[in-house]
Amino acid sequence: MAQYEVVIGLEIHAELLTKTKIFCACTTAFGGHANSHCCPVCLGLPGALPVLNEKAVEYGIKAGLALDCRIPERCKFDRKNYFYPDLPKAYQISQYDEPLCLGGSVTCETETGLQTIGVTRVHLEEEAGKSVHSGDNILGSEYSSMDYNRAGIPLIEIVTEPDLRSPQDAKAFLEHLKRVLQYIEVSDCKMEEGSLRCDANVSLRPLGVQELGTKVEIKNLNSFRSVERALQHEVTRQSQLYEAKQQVEQETRAWDEARGVTVSMRSKEESHDYRYFPEPDIPPVHINSLWVEDLRSGLPELPLSRKERLQRQYGLTTYEAEFLVSQRSWSDFFEAVVQEFDQEKMVVNWLMGDVSRVLNAREETLPQSQLDVSGLVELLRLIDTGTISGSQAKAVLEAVCATGQPPADVVQTLGMQQISDEDQLAAMVDAVIAQYPGEAQRCREGDAKLIGFFVGQIMKGSQGKANPKMVNELLRKKLKL
């Protein structure tokens, strides 16, 4: 293995979050009855014509800008011709030789440090429909049904340069890319729902050789894990072929997740001739450079630089900053909370700890949750002023997330305001000492463990509302410990 260098390039497809499809006004909403989100255009009915959705162009440009691409003044659409039941027109409207974005790069963190990966191009195209087979798979099926709800959802295809050098790097890059696209809110990148998909080109070459080896394209990579596993498998397979002095065939292989192997789909000779030609129904698109500059200045801070800034500005650890930037909603939330409540460590601890735990248990994301910035600020203040204890705060958080009530109201309803009034607490302490004279005596004689017993009695008597810290101090004073 050591004498070979691994060369990987990725082709990533991401569905764009536009409300309507790329060439018609149908909704892009996920789900819905089969073929209920369709019209003559996305069904490819005779006579229907495509009209480009400007939002799709905008989202495509944003993606290109986030990947440091150049946006040419003109792009055009082309037809990619092939027959498949899920393709209503038997051609996909895509972009061939004049894509929306060209020549970018992405810097991301990998196990081997920061790496910059070239982005060849980003182009727009339309999604196909979906086959629903009557059996478990197409071969075992008596018939298949078609659902065209997905047909015509806008996609961007991002093509990287062959700059990746290991399956691990490929996975790290893909995860970073997903984060970037989510940050700029152009795609939700759900691999499990198919809104992010990846094909990989992989080849080996002897170390020190510039020329690329024979490449194999791998399809059907449905999770980050399968990207890494499939590439790893393919690297091993190819290196064994080299070792055995056998040829690596240029071909397309499919990843079989269940068996953990790649299997040949088609050879180079069998590869499709897509007969690309310019789409006559859509005139070339002219991109206004002022618009591009507008979109550029509207881009949010991207995850890698935000991570560095969060560490620098708030003194967070790498781990904490990584947690916050993993989703833009978390870092936005964090920064909004610390505006109001400046104990950054406490904020990040609560977010990483109890807030995460409660949301996970509720199967909610932060934006879906009823917990808002002012809610968490209020909760942290209640803890900070000693109005409620840390353990009470957890209960309050759960109630806030469940009901959407402000924390102060929850505290009121649950009657859980902490008793921190010194006179009131002193009276409680006196009463308990009087109730247990023997234990008090042993305590005064040095059996400090009994303090716990007294604290317990007081907490029980106050239904947990007594401020335990203050009770402890009062007991020590009164029992002269």
Binding site: P50, P88, P280, D281
Partner: protein
């Protein structure tokens, strides 16, 4: 005079004056269809009930003084490659014989908005591929002037029904002459507007960069009026020109004083019928008499137009017709798997000519041939376009024959290349996206109508109509009024 022989303009003015009702007009057409279409075969679908219902509604509107347009109540026929909601949309093909369109084409919406009852849908060469309507997979359409002859194509049904007095006017589509050539063969006025002037939404695509909806009428004024009714921008067609379009009717009687008319240098050497040549001479002289300036111009790439046109049209067609795979609508012939189903469906569903063009189109787009054929053809197209632009600096309108000869007999053109050659004069306007029209001017020895073609610069339809108006006057003066055969 019988209603069905009247022009749309005459019907409109009688409707306006309350001398006839729309129901009268529609009934007259329907009666004539019943009497005559057995022999002519223009209609694939006759919408008697719907047309009468629309006519009744129109009459109510007229009575209540809320006519939708000048043409409210004037019936019309449309080619069967235009989508009309709830009605089959066969395109003259087995593939779509039973396909019902679930929406209206933009031009159909325009007709409905103008209040025109739609009489039915007319026969055509399969998917508009042909010049005689002999390639319809569903029916034979005959030329009302001589039923042994073809009506021209691909909009042969629309031409035949207007010529036979079954409809006062009709819509067709023109990709390489499919309106102008049948208009010429049937003694009608046929207009192909500037590419983008009329929305293609709902026009079943043959060759998207060349297709344009066009009109058939008995007079130039009717053609201009119908063009005004259907022209204008449409947000559903990205290639449509973004403005409403002028009123074309006013151009027709404007005359040609000072208009610069071009004729092709050396056209006399073209292999045209002597009677066609004579018509050209007469027309040139007539235009001069009316004050036009006639000069010769040259377009040396014209000889490359046919090859260029067929390469591009076939390439686009191979892609446009790929959707007929049996999965979603239209004919399906089951197979052992999806690919087998595609194969069987397309083998049975398409006729010979359509298959020929799909195969050639697929070939010219294939890797390794694209540059030599499709790309080269696009380059020549660009040159033809700029030669026209250059030429229209010197002249306002170009006068040519529409076709070298008059309507031919069934089966006369067996060799596809011979058939393609019929389009010699008509395809350049499609390649360059220019407006062009055919109008009847003279007769051949067999008594069949001769068509002359006027071509103008982009969006210069009014100029073309000016010249047409003058020639029409000359023809009417010597032959009496236009009318159905």
């Amino acid at each position: 005079m019988e209603l069905h022989t009247m022009t749309a303009g005459e019907l409109a003015s009688m409707l306006e004056k309350g001398e006839i009702s729309s129901v009268d007009a529609v009934k007259s057409c329907l009666d004539h269809i019943a009497a005559r279409d057995q022999a002519v075969g223009a209609f694939l679908t006759v919408l008697a009930e719907q047309a009468l219902q629309a006519a009744e509604q129109s009459d109510t509107r007229r009575r209540e003084g809320r006519a939708l347009s000048l043409w409210d109540g004037v019936p019309i026929a449309i080619k069967d490659n235009l989508a009309l909601q709830g009605v089959r949309n066969t395109c003259g093909s087995k593939m779509l014989e039973h396909y019902i369109a679930p929406y209206d084409a933009h031009v159909v919406t325009k007709l409905k908005q103008a209040g025109m009852p739609i009489l039915g849908k007319t026969n055509m060469d399969e998917f508009a591929m042909g010049s005689s309507t002999e390639f319809s997979a569903l029916q034979v359409t005959r030329n009302p002037w001589d039923v042994e002859r073809v009506p021209g194509g691909s909009s042969g049904g629309s031409a035949a029904c207007v010529a036979a007095g079954e409809a006062p006017w009709a819509l067709g589509s023109d990709t390489g002459g499919s309106v102008r050539e049948p208009a010429s063969f049937c003694g009608l006025v046929g207009i192909k507007p500037t590419y983008g002037r009329v929305s293609r939404y709902g026009l079943v695509a043959f060759a998207s960069s060349l297709d344009q909806v066009g009109t058939f009428s008995r007079t130039v004024s009717d053609g201009a009026a119908l063009l005004s009714a259907i022209a204008g921008s449409d947000a559903k067609d990205s290639t449509s020109i973004p403005d409403a379009g002028p009123d074309y009717a006013s151009a027709v009687r404007r005359g040609v004083q000072g208009l610069r008319v071009g004729v092709l240098d050396g056209w006399e050497q073209d292999t045209v019928l002597p009677s066609v040549a004579a018509s050209m001479q007469e027309a040139t002289a007539a235009l001069k008499r009316a004050g036009a300036e006639v000069t010769t111009v040259s377009l040396n790439l014209l000889d490359k137009a046919i090859e260029t046109y067929y390469l591009i049209a076939m390439a686009e067609a191979s892609s446009n017709l790929a959707r007929y795979d049996g999965v979603r609508y239209g004919l399906r012939v089951d197979g052992t798997d999806a690919a087998d189903m595609f194969r069987r469906t397309r083998s049975e569903g398409f006729g010979q000519e359509v298959k020929r063009r799909i195969l050639l189109g697929t070939y010219v787009l294939s890797a390794g041939y694209y540059d030599a054929y499709y790309k080269k053809a696009q380059q020549v197209r660009t040159l033809i376009r700029s030669q026209f632009a250059q030429m229209f600096n010197d002249v306002d309108v170009l006068l040519t024959p529409t076709t070298a000869a008059t309507a031919f007999r069934f089966g006369e053109k067996q060799d596809p290349l011979q058939m393609y050659q019929t389009d010699y004069y008509t395809v350049p306007a499609n390649l360059a996206g220019l407006p062009a029209m055919s109008l009847p001017f003279g007769r051949c020895e067999a008594g069949l109508p001769i068509g002359l073609q006027l071509t103008a610069g982009a969006l210069q339809e009014p100029v073309m109509l000016q010249a047409a108006g003058v020639l029409e006057q000359v023809e009417q003066d010597r032959r009496g009024s236009y009318g159905a055969v």
